[in-house]
């Protein structure tokens, strides 16, 4: 494989990126996302580490993570597993404790996010991936799903006026101290938690930037957007409306 010019120079500005990957049954996707991250960071020359937080996946995700650790090194792949499924917020708290970077990347391990631009420009406290602006978008979504997504986002914008176009995405880059401070304040679960993070970031006067992302529908595994999801989304939205 031909190496790109400059790919072996490290950027000497001292920034290090910690990628937090909470996983649950991502045995198939984990090696692929790790490979992609190693490729992108390797080419960019930035210093990085990947922290895999597995919640006791029964499909052997941790075992695959251990193999990846042997391939890429223990300084690049850190394993911080937990005994059982304990939720996203606590996974981030757990991951931050072991992160040595000054920037923290949050993303799903299921390959659904694909970013074209660079999220690092602008010096923002928090950069959020958006499907709704620029050349962000989706792949493999039928009309029903698009309608629900845009409709829910519209209701969110009207009620919360959050200053960010996409609240339910989970592709984000935080300054480490900003993430620490926000995670402590947020009480919701699941992707309402992601929404709450951005709302609280705005309240705390942190600067929020956006970068377009392509959301490619789950390549492996099932997608979850049933009636239950919609109801719990609305409940979460109304809770945020009444409490923030």
């Amino acid at each position: 494989m031909a190496s790109r010019k400059g790919s072996h120079q490290s950027r000497g500005n001292g920034d290090k990126y910690s990628v937090l990957l909470p996983t649950y049954n991502e045995r198939e996707n984990l090696p692929l996302i790790v490979w992609l991250l190693v490729k992108y960071f390797g080419e960019s020359g930035y210093n990085y580490e990947i922290i895999v937080i597995d919640d006791g996946s029964p499909d052997g995700t941790l075992e695959v993570a251990e193999q990846l650790q042997k391939i890429y090194g223990e300084d690049k792949i850190l394993l911080r597993p937990r005994a059982k499924k304990l939720g996203l917020g606590t996974a981030y708290i757990h991951g931050i404790k072991h992160a040595t970077g000054n920037y923290v990347f949050i993303m799903d391990a299921d390959l659904s996010h694909h970013v074209s631009g660079s999220p690092r420009e602008g010096g923002y406290d928090l950069v959020s991936g958006t499907r709704y602006r620029g050349d962000g978008g989706v792949y493999g979504w039928d009309l029903r799903r698009k309608l629900i997504s845009r409709g829910a986002n519209y209701v969110t914008q009207v009620l919360l006026r959050p200053g960010a176009s996409d609240l339910t995405g989970s592709f984000r880059l935080y300054k480490k101290e900003v993430l620490e401070s926000l995670v402590e304040r947020c009480v919701s679960k699941g992707y309402v938690f992601q929404m709450e993070m951005i709302v609280r970031a705005r309240q705390g006067n942190y600067t929020v930037g956006e970068v377009p992302i392509s959301f490619v529908d789950r390549v492996y595994g099932e997608s979850k957007l049933g009636g239950n999801e919609i109801v719990s989304f609305l409940k979460g939205l109304l809770t945020l409306f009444a409490t923030t």
């Binding site: 692929l32 391939i71 694909h114 698009k146 986002n153 519209y154 009207v158 959301f215």
Partner: protein
Amino acid sequence: MTKLLEWVFGVSVIGAAWALVTFDLLNLRLPVAYKEVAWPMPVYLLVVFGCYSLATVGYRVATFNDCEEASKELQDQIKEAKEDLRKKGLKM
């Protein structure tokens, strides 16, 4: 102030102004035209908001980007990744 309180406050202020004009609560003796315009305003504004919402969401659904190239790129990368990982000794 929470968003809910902001809304309650905003609606109260507008509601009070509307009631004041429509029912002449302070005996201001405004021209009849003011009352006639003010009276249907709440329903009118709701309808306008409803139409605006439908148009906005409709427009956004219609212009929702479909990322064909991203999907193709991802598929290629997955192939490349699997090949490379197999060479490096990963057993999937």
